[in-house]
Amino acid sequence: MKLRLITGTDSLQPPEATTGGAMKTQKLYRAKKISKTLVAVLMMAAGLHAQGSSAQQSLILRVMELNKLDLIGGSLKLTIDKIHADQFAPTPAVNANTTLVWTSNGENKKITVASSNTNPRYALRAAPQEMSPGAGKATPVVSFLDNKNHDFIVGVNRSAGKCVIQFTAAADVKQGIGIDTHVITYTITSS
Amino acid sequence: MNHRIRNKGTVSTVTLFLLALSCAFFQQQTMAQPINVGNNITMSITTGVAGGTLTSVVNTARTLTYRRQLAIAKITVSTSCPTQSFTLKVLATAVPDGIAAPEVTLVNGMPATDFIVNIPVRPPNTARSCTLRYTASATFSQGNSIEDGNDVHTVTYTILAQ
């Protein structure tokens, strides 16, 4: 059986039917035609998409280390003016209206707290509560006995968080009447 | 007396000889022209090269005919062309007797300029001919004949003792 080959230079006219190999020749012709059409379409598409122009800009991006700390609530006054009848002692004054918020994109940071009062007459404690999850580890409670820094929240790593600060003021009867003034300072610093 | 007569006869013979010789010389001087340049010529420049010059034309249709003389001779050339605009040169080629001078540029009012030199003395006394090669040329800036008129050269050739 003869098989007629259509070369690349052959026209796309259907080949004449030949006895025996006519069907195969026709199939080969159709395949050839389809492939040529596909090639033409692809070339056109390539030509269209090959065109274009581009321009570039170079950008310099940078994020500095930043640590932000803020208090929501402002100044507060704790007044001990009640005595628990059963215990014969003044009832501690509690205030949880202050919220501490912070943001740090640094690592291994901590928030410390210190009072300006070097020798307070009455006991003052601060305890972080309602900590944002993952924003650090809270110290259970800090007593302001002097003006030293105390770790308040540790393990602050690239995070933003907040907590409610619960202040508790306590006094004995023997300590009498008086006023303690504290200026509480929060500092975010490296651990 | 006889002596005188004898002398007379001798004298007559010599005289006749000299007369014949003189007549021959006279005839040669009057009948055979010593130089001839033929008819007039018109040369036309009709084409040119853009960015270049006009195409010069050459004419070799005329011959210069001359004879040897009794002494070594030369031929000079001069021209008269009062309103000359273009360039005309002439050169003797195929010179049989004498030596051709370099090509002569014909300029109105020019002094007679050597054209052929060292023409030997006769004999022979036959006419000799060389070719006159005229070359006419012009630049575009020299204009044209319609606006400026033709150049009409009266070119004179003279043969004289060198």
Partner: protein
């Protein structure tokens, strides 16, 4: 007489030649002017470095910074379906965001688009439907922002590529 006739004949011939020569007073040249498809885009330069330096306590998102100091210009004669796409040479790390806004008078701006993750294979269309012609000096606005949780970012060079295409 004979010479005169010859002279006259030559004069007559020369007039014909003169006319012939004068007829060659023109020269022609085929000049083809082809205008192909043109796409052209350029920028006025590079923006200033963008540095995030502040934020709000309690908020993870730091304060973003913007730059609108540069412009772009385009010229195209293809048609009215041309667009500008933008991409980065490499995606930004998580927690950082680069947005772009490209103004347009010949086309439609897509507004502020996040190109933080747009790379060459995933360019973002920032201007579409650009008509034939030129659009010069249109503002490019970049906005860079970061999360505190993403940490610091030392000076990083990013290349933004704008492609004008159909």
């Amino acid at each position: 007489m004979k010479k005169s006739l010859v002279t006259l004949a030559l004069a007559g011939l020369s007039i014909l030649i003169v006319e012939s020569a004068s007829a060659q007073s023109s020269a022609a040249q085929n000049v083809t002017l082809t205008v192909n498809t043109v796409y052209k885009i350029s920028t006025s330069g590079n923006p200033s470095s963008m540095t995030v330096t502040t934020g709000t306590a309690g908020t993870d998102a730091l304060s973003s910074v913007s730059d609108n100091s540069t412009t772009y210009s385009i010229t195209q004669n293809f048609g009215n379906t041309v667009k500008v796409a933008a991409n980065l040479d490499a995606a930004l790390a998580a927690g950082y965001t680069l947005q772009i806004n490209m103004a347009s008078t010949k086309g439609t701006s897509a507004g502020t688009m996040d190109i933080s993750n747009a790379t060459s294979g995933s360019a973002v269309d920032v201007v579409t439907g650009i008509n034939r012609g030129a659009d010069a000096g249109q503002m490019v606005t970049y906005t860079f922002s970061a999360l505190a949780s993403a940490g610091m970012l030392s000076s990083t060079n990013k290349t933004v590529t704008f492609t004008l295409t159909n």
